[in-house]
């Protein structure tokens, strides 16, 4: 399912979380938490509230002052991939539908996570309900995850709120959450809930999938547009409303981008007619830079 050229380009890339994550799996990711250390890091003068068990009595003997030991632990990352498989994600005016592109991107990220011994989980929204594959770091789990993705059809509506609620309930500690969706939720509540995950210290990235036909509205003759998630239909003369449609759609894209930026959520707009490897590379390098700043 994954494009071989994309995978070969990504083999040297290292996925780094934007912040230090809690976890137990040692690896490339540094934890922000001190205490359960296997490797001494530094001393800190005691202050009320510090655990007494971390007092370095030898140092007290030498300097007659209380010092607390601090340790540096290596932790593992828990990545949750949230894929929208609603009917609208099946829209395809080009080689790949939005869902197919979402599957490719999610599969590639899962492969990278597992390859560096991080846990990868999958949450899908399809047909109005939410299904979950818990996060694991086992190699066999990757196969199951990819299989689940491969079988995923585009149908019904996406219940983003339920998916985020489930994720918030299951994700212990800080996690990396990548959402793949076209975000065509008229109420906008789903996106708000995704952005709230960031408030709970999760590292959130939104991959906004857009078809070129949605961006350009290239229809000329009178057309009967059919809804992909219901029975709605609309007969219009595309030439008459093109200008108005493009205004509306671009405003939607811009408001989504701005909301993500304000919530400190990574936002990647993905055109389904673009090569995917530059998208992933751009995303990963951006995350690497952001981590460096922290």
């Amino acid at each position: 399912m994954l494009d071989a050229r994309t995978l070969s380009r990504l083999a040297g890339a290292r996925l780094r979380a934007r912040a230090l994550m809690e976890g137990v799996l040692s690896g490339l990711h540094k934890s922000p938490h001190q205490g359960q250390s296997v490797e001494f890091a530094e001393h800190k003068e005691y202050a009320p509230g510090d655990e007494l068990r971390h007092l370095d009595w030898k140092a007290y003997g030498k300097f007659d002052r209380y010092y607390v030991k601090r340790f540096e632990h290596e932790t593992n990352l828990r990545g949750h991939l949230v894929v929208d498989a609603s009917g609208s994600m099946g829209f395809n005016s080009h080689a790949l539908s939005k869902l197919e592109v979402a599957k490719a991107l999610a599969g590639a990220l899962a492969y990278l996570l597992v390859r560096q011994q991080d846990a990868a989980g999958l949450t899908v929204m399809t047909g109005g309900h939410v299904a979950e594959l818990p996060a694991r770091a086992a190699a066999g789990h990757l196969n199951a995850l990819l299989s689940r993705l491969e079988e995923l059809p585009a149908q019904g509506e996406a219940d983003m709120v339920a998916a985020v609620d489930l994720l918030a309930e299951r994700a212990s500690g800080r996690s990396f959450v990548a959402v793949f969706s076209d975000l065509l939720d008229e109420s906008g509540v789903g996106l708000q809930r995704v952005l709230q995950l960031r408030a709970r210290k999760h590292d959130v990235a939104v991959f906004h999938l857009v078809d070129p036909a949605e961006l350009e509205f290239p229809y000329e003759d009178p057309t009967l547009f059919l809804s992909m998630e219901g029975d709605a239909r609309m007969e219009v003369n595309p030439r008459e409303i093109r200008e108005s449609y493009l205004e509306e759609f671009n405003a939607f894209l811009e408001s989504t981008r701005r909301a993500c930026a304000e919530a400190d959520v990574s936002y990647e707009r993905v055109r389904t007619d673009e090569p995917l490897d530059p998208v992933l590379l751009r995303f990963l390098s951006l995350r690497s830079r952001r981590r460096g700043r922290r």
Partner: protein, 695 residues
């Protein structure tokens, strides 16, 4: 609203096409599943009112295009209700009478005739298709018009080809002809559309208006529709109505004075009207003349020609609205310098007693047309007479037989001979040898009074009757006549009552005896003076009239004084050429190159004409070549220059009050052609429709 091509209105049904397309367009839109349908819905809602308005506009614009095009092709015109009402008289067989007289050449920027043509075309276009029509272009020579028919294109061609003439026309005759041309129409009404400027000369009001008889034999008046093209035009005009060309002896030989009369037909005085005298194409004199309102003024321009010969020229005023009558053409035979042989019959060492002293002095004075050669009798009779144009025999004894024969030959060939009496003149000998040449045979010498008699002044003879109609004596009128009439004659020769040929007594003495007798012999002329030209028998030679009379005598004898002036034609008339010119002439060529036909009269003379335009007409021989010196100046009729218009009362009395009122109504705003505006509307609608669709 009227339509030139009403059948084109059927095309207006095309305006239904947008509606029909809207109602019956059953094309099904292509179904397309689309992800962002919510945005399509929102856009559609947002644009709904705008789209509805735009669709309505597009529909209206398309309908406008499809409606305006056939309407424009139908060539609509808008007329005010009053005009339309005036014209709504029901179908009638119609004849359009277009006045083509000289006065229609008046122009106030646009020639009156062009306005008349346009009005006639409009009137033709207004006729309904079921009305038969004909056109009469009213000229002096207009023949019967074509019978009324429905071929509008042919009538339009007739109007397009019509030209204004240079003559007056008689509308009465044209109206009669027009009405007769409608005789075959089955329609119960007749209409005459009269397009004219209605000047005084256009209509004879004393004649009755034309009538026709309907099927029941009842006499009917036709409906008159008057198209007055000069209602709003100030027809002010002045014209050159007369031109006299006379030798200006006082200025010099070959000098002429051109006296012309300018008449002002308008209500305002004309100041400083420039007049120019042109010879050939060169302006040789200029002057200015003031003419009072409805008055005349005379002006004289003088010009001295350098050499003799035939001259064509014109006197012209600065042009006004009717420029054609501001020019007066003329032709002139300028005499060449004449050679005169003066034969002195009684020479005298004392100059003032010499017989030829006064004649020689007169002919050598300024202004003399002749250059004299003074000879005594013996020397003169040995001269080659063909070297002279004229011979003055002053108190000469009867010439010998051979000389008399030479003199006869000289006169027959065109020479001029002046004979004066005296003591040397023996009547019998003269009658024998010179009888055939003398206007009348000499009889005896009569003595009226002795020069030294105390009552000589009372008894001396004087001129009593002078024929001032003759060119020789025409200047001697008024004060000039006094010098002639005061001359005293103490002796003179009496003449026989009749001679060898025709003779004309130009002056008599108080006792009835002839004093001056003229005659033509062959091609030449002879003038006999029955007294002396010195002071022996009279004191005429010291009178003021002597010198001009000698000058005119010299000119008249050579045939260069007056005959050519008679050659003058008028537009619309024919001119009979003089006998000598008629022999070779066959036709003439007008200034515009048209041929003026010549007709041989029973007398053998050639009648040229009728002339149709003014200006110089070259007389042509049978081969079509111009005859040298034969040019006929043709002038206009003076009456056509009077552009004063017929009053409404007069027109109402003749045409009927209703027709005149309708004419006044139609003289308002002219019909407004709407088709060009409709084309503009269609083009704008087409452009806007494209603009809306592009958005």
């Amino acid at each position: 609203m009227t339509f030139a091509h009403p059948w084109m209105l059927l095309g207006a049904l095309a305006a239904l096409i947008p509606l029909l397309v809207h109602l019956f367009d059953r094309r099904r839109p292509r179904p397309v599943p689309f992800a962002s349908l919510s945005f399509v819905l929102r856009s559609q809602k947002r644009s709904a009112s705008r789209l509805k308005l735009r669709r309505l506009l597009v529909y209206l614009l398309r309908t406008t295009v499809l409606l305006a095009l056939p309407l424009a092709l139908a060539r609509p015109e808008w007329k005010s209700e009053s005009v339309a009402g005036a014209l709504a008289q029901g179908p009638a067989a119609t004849a359009l009478v277009l006045d083509a007289s000289l006065s229609l050449r008046f122009s106030d920027g646009k020639p009156l005739f062009e306005k008349a043509r346009a009005r006639a075309r409009d009137a033709l276009a207004r006729l309904s298709p079921e009305e038969p029509a004909t056109v009469v272009v009213c000229t002096r020579e207009a023949g019967a018009p074509p019978p009324a028919g429905f071929d509008r294109a042919r009538l339009r061609n007739l109007l397009d080809e019509a030209k204004p003439t240079y003559a007056s026309v008689e509308l009465n005759r044209c109206l009669e002809q027009a009405l007769r041309a409608l005789d075959d129409s089955p329609l119960p009404a007749r209409r005459l559309v009269v397009v004219s400027d209605f000047t005084q000369g256009s209509l004879r009001l004393e004649a009755s208006a034309p009538t026709w008889k309907d099927a029941a034999g009842v006499v009917q008046r036709p409906e008159f529709q008057l198209e007055d093209v000069a209602r709003d035009v100030a027809l002010s005009n002045r014209a050159l109505v007369d031109l006299k060309v006379l030798p200006a002896v006082q200025v010099g030989p070959r000098a002429f004075q051109f006296t012309f009369t300018v008449r002002n037909f308008s209500d305002a005085a004309a100041k400083d009207v420039q007049a120019t005298l042109k010879v050939g194409s060169q302006v040789v004199a200029k002057g200015f003349v003031d003419v009072p309102a409805h008055g005349t003024a005379q002006k004289t321009l003088t010009h001295r020609f350098e050499e003799g010969g035939s001259v064509v020229g014109e006197v012209a005023l600065s042009p006004d609205g009717l420029a054609e009558d501001d020019v007066r053409p003329f032709t002139l035979e300028v005499p060449r310098e004449l050679r005169a042989l003066v034969v002195n019959g009684q020479p005298n060492p004392t100059r003032y007693r010499d017989e030829a002293f006064f004649v020689d002095a007169a002919l050598t004075a300024q202004g003399s047309p002749a250059r004299p050669a003074l000879r005594d009798v013996d020397a003169a009779f040995r001269e080659d007479l063909s070297a002279y144009d004229e011979i003055f025999l002053l108190n000469v004894p009867a010439p010998p037989e051979d000389v008399a024969a030479k003199l006869r030959e000289f006169v027959e060939a065109g020479g001029g001979l002046f004979v004066s009496a005296g003591d040397q003149v023996d009547p019998d000998a003269w009658n024998v040898r010179m009888g055939p040449l003398l206007p009348r045979p000499l009889r005896v010498v009569r003595t009226a009074a002795g020069r030294d008699d105390p009552d000589a002044d009372a008894r001396a003879e004087r001129f009593a009757q002078v024929d001032d109609r003759h060119p020789l004596l025409s200047p001697f009128t008024g004060e000039a006549r006094e010098g002639l009439m005061s001359s005293r004659f103490f002796k003179y020769a009496l003449l026989e009552a009749a001679g060898a040929g025709e003779a004309q007594v130009l002056a008599h003495f108080r006792d009835g005896a002839p004093a001056l007798v003229a005659a033509r012999r062959g091609k030449g002329r002879v003038l006999l003076f029955t007294s002396t030209v010195d002071r022996d028998w009279s004191d005429f030679s010291i009178r003021t009239s002597f010198l001009p009379l000698m000058h005119r005598t010299a000119a008249w004898l050579a045939g260069s004084l007056d005959e050519r002036e008679a050659l003058h034609g008028r537009v619309g008339e024919t001119l009979a050429l003089p006998a000598e010119a008629s022999a070779k002439a066959a036709s003439a060529e007008s200034p515009s190159g048209e041929t003026v036909p010549g007709q041989r009269l029973d007398s053998g003379a050639l009648a040229l004409g009728p002339f149709v335009e003014p200006g110089h007409h070259a007389v042509l021989d049978s081969g079509g070549k111009p005859l040298p010196g034969m040019v006929v100046p043709v002038t206009l009729e003076a009456g056509e220059s009077d552009l004063s218009r017929l009053g409404e009362d007069a027109l109402s009395a003749w045409f009927g009050e209703a027709s005149v009122k309708a004419a006044a109504a139609s003289a308002g705003p002219s019909p407004v052609p709407l088709w060009s505006w409709l084309l503009v509307v269609a083009a704008v609608a087409f452009f806007l429709e494209g603009l809306l669709l592009r958005k």
